[in-house]
């Protein structure tokens, strides 16, 4: 202790943080695995020991308390009364990969093979030589630690027991659908996925379900030149579940990423997206609709780097909050000097349905190129009285009118879903939520 006392305040804080991290990681044993995977996990663990686990005093954790994400045991979370059949995307023809309480369920899953696709379970991958996945696994996460650390992503790389490694080599129409079911109220889940879209290939990746009492997912995405990746995610309806998710996406020339996340309910959700536009003419859209009523804390943290010229990015995040729900948005656009002709757009908006709810936003632009177009906006407000009156004057009951205006508020985020059948599935869930929360 005397040694710590001699340090300056920042160094002392760092020492204390690393000590806390070391003690939290002490009992940790890495999952059994083959050579390359074990090495990746050990490296991740070393990385985590170096950066330390997050606490409330970290700049990007001011609005969201990571304590329940960091602590050794996850708080239990009641199972929501919902049948698996009622889950989103049921109407969509898709290749299903099912996890129950974070464990792969081969009986509920489809055969992991399809034209133009390679799919390997992470649990089976360690002993095999899968070059395309080895190059990416933990590598994008490691790259994503700078300039802002993502310690819980490093933890995920170290401890995730399973996940899928997906490689698309052609335009694949049928989506790959990761389904996270729950059975045990206290089960925890850590899954790590790698998605590689080869040049000119196209893939739609779906994720849905509450997953576990505490969820950690990392998805590393690499999209080759001219490749397209659609990602649509719905995080279940369980009120008490906690989730920390990370997307790391690297885009090549003329490639496209469209990612949309629906979060209805959930005690704590932090969705981080880290995107690099590394090739000329790339396009990255990251969007989300979040609805919370009561004990709900939802955080979207986004970092988009324009490293190449003539790329476009959009961040569109909408939150509907009620009865003390809290929404957080931390979004950044970083434009490198080389990234001339950048077109960046960022909007984060909250619709506060009462005076007890709260929206905290931290929009950031950092621009080093001179010929760019970047706009950002952040607002929070209530339902527009003139719009509400107009609808009621046409005969819509007040609650119906409010529901319609809530859906209208969310519409811009939903517009980011390219496939209309997927958008309609999400819209249906939104309508359901709105009609239940009157």
């Amino acid at each position: 202790m005397t040694a710590v006392a001699k340090l300056g305040p920042r160094a002392a804080r760092r020492a204390a943080k690393l000590e806390a991290t070391a003690s939290r990681l002490e009992a940790l044993t890495l999952p059994e695995s083959g050579e390359w995977l074990r090495r990746a996990r050990e490296t991740a663990l070393a990385r985590l020991r170096e950066i330390g686990l997050p606490d409330r005093r970290d700049e990007y954790w001011k609005f969201t308390d990571p304590a329940t994400l960091v602590r050794t045991d996850a708080p239990a979370a009641a199972l929501f009364e919902i049948t698996d059949e009622a889950m989103v995307f049921d109407a969509i023809d898709r290749l299903r990969v099912v996890f129950v309480d974070g464990v792969f369920d081969p009986d509920a899953s489809d055969e992991l093979e399809a034209e133009g696709l390679e799919i390997v379970r992470l649990a089976d991958a360690g002993g095999r030589d899968i070059h395309w996945a080895q190059e990416l696994f933990g590598a994008l996460e490691a790259e994503g630690q700078d300039p802002v650390t993502r310690p819980l992503a490093a933890l995920n790389t170290a401890v995730a027991t399973d996940g899928v490694l997906i490689r698309a080599t052609a335009r694949v129409a049928r989506p790959v659908s990761l389904i996270y079911r729950r059975r045990d109220p206290s089960a925890e889940l850590a899954l790590h996925h790698v998605v590689k879209v080869e040049p000119g290939a196209e893939l739609t990746l779906l994720e849905n379900g509450p997953g576990a009492a505490r969820v950690s997912t990392v998805t590393e995405m690499c999209i080759g030149d001219g490749g397209v990746l659609h990602h649509v995610r719905a995080q279940g309806r369980d009120h008490e579940r906690r989730a920390i998710t990370h997307l790391f996406a690297r885009l090549g020339e003329q490639s496209v990423l469209k990612s949309f996340t629906l979060s209805a309910n959930g005690a704590l959700t932090r969705n981080e997206s880290v995107v690099w536009l590394n090739g000329k003419g790339g396009s990255a859209h990251v969007a989300g609709a979040a609805m919370g009523d009561g004990a709900f804390h939802h955080d979207d943290t986004v970092f988009i780097t324009h490293a190449a010229p003539d790329c476009e990015s959009r961040q569109v995040f909408k939150k509907v909050l009620r009865h003390g729900a809290v929404g957080v948005f931390q979004g950044k656009i970083l434009v490198h000097q080389a990234a001339q002709l950048t077109d960046g757009y960022q909007i984060s908006q909250a619709l506060l349905l009462d005076e007890t709810s709260q929206f905290l936003a931290k929009p950031e632009l950092e621009i080093y190129a001179d010929d760019v177009k970047c706009s950002h906006g952040s607002t929070s407000g209530e339902i527009d009285a003139d719009q509400l009156f107009y609808l009621r004057a046409r005969g819509l009951p007040e609650e119906t009118a409010k529901g319609l205006l809530v859906l209208a508020f969310l519409a811009e985020a939903l517009d980011e879903i390219a496939r209309e059948d997927l958008a309609e599935e999400i819209r249906e869930k939104l309508r359901g939520w709105v009609s239940r929360h009157r």
């Binding site: 009621r392 004057a393 005969g395 819509l396 319609l404 811009e412």
Partner: protein, 254 residues
């Protein structure tokens, strides 16, 4: 059909009387016009009729076919057949015009205990009405009033009126912001809806709309009261001489 008796209204937030004893009866099948200078209380009357917040009725009553309007929510008033065509129709981004109108039509049908219309039935009906009113069907696909020109907004109001088939139509300054051609289209729409079972209250500052929608009765409103009532010739008198003479003659302040 519509009976307004001794209506006194003040703004809720400040102690300012706007309507100071309005008496007015509109019979079924008739078109009544209310004219008056700015600030006379015409638009307040329209809003109070439709149930907008922000106004306090301190005295008097409004009955529509035996229903006490002042006891009812805006949507309940719509359900018994009241329709207000807004002076400034509200833009609602994110809500499709078609969805909006179908929801409104079905809300009214439901409130009246009628079967809801299917999407297909509604689509057919709204297309037919739009054609009658010379409204581009493209307008139905756009969000409610978003990016509409002044004329399109007003025609959209008339289309809603046609779809909702109200008994009592209140048109608040429907001519404002319209050129002559646009006004004629709107007036044609209104005239097409004139019917023995339907009453109209047309609020306007200028006489020109009344060239196209011929009123049965014209009221002049000033300082929160109806100060003069007459036939269509009263509108022409306003057109020729302005409000000053009438106001002087009736002893009302402008």
């Amino acid at each position: 059909m519509l009976e307004i008796k001794n209506l006194h209204v003040k703004l809720e937030e400040e102690d300012k009387a706007i309507l100071k004893g309005v008496d007015l009866t509109v019979e079924a099948g008739k078109v009544h016009a209310i004219m008056g200078p700015n600030g006379s209380g015409k638009s307040t009357l329209a809003y109070v009729l439709s149930g907008r917040d922000g106004y306090e009725v301190t005295e008097g009553s409004i009955m529509l076919e035996g229903h006490d309007l002042l006891d009812m929510e805006p949507e309940e008033r719509a359900a018994i057949g009241l329709f207000l065509a807004f002076q400034y129709p509200v833009e609602i981004p994110g809500v499709g015009n078609m969805t909006f109108m179908r929801t409104a039509v079905n809300a009214l049908r439901k409130a009246r205990g009628e079967e809801e219309m299917s999407s297909a039935e509604f689509l057919k009906a709204v297309r037919a009405k739009a054609k009658e009113l010379k409204i581009d069907a493209e307008m139905l696909k756009r969000p409610v009033n978003v990016g509409f020109s002044g004329g399109e907004k007003k025609r959209n109001e008339i289309l809603q009126m046609a779809m909702l088939e109200p008994k009592m139509c209140v048109l608040d300054e429907t001519d404002s912001g319209l050129d002559v051609d646009a006004m004629r289209l709107v007036a044609d729409g209104v005239n097409a809806l004139r019917d023995a079972g339907r009453g109209f209250l047309v609020i306007t500052h200028y006489q020109r709309l009344l060239d196209h929608i011929r009123p049965d009765v014209v009221h002049i409103m000033a300082d929160g009261r109806i100060v003069k009532t007459g036939g269509p010739e009263l509108a022409l008198e306003v057109e020729t001489n302005g409000y000053a003479d009438i106001l002087a003659e009736t002893g009302a302040a402008a």
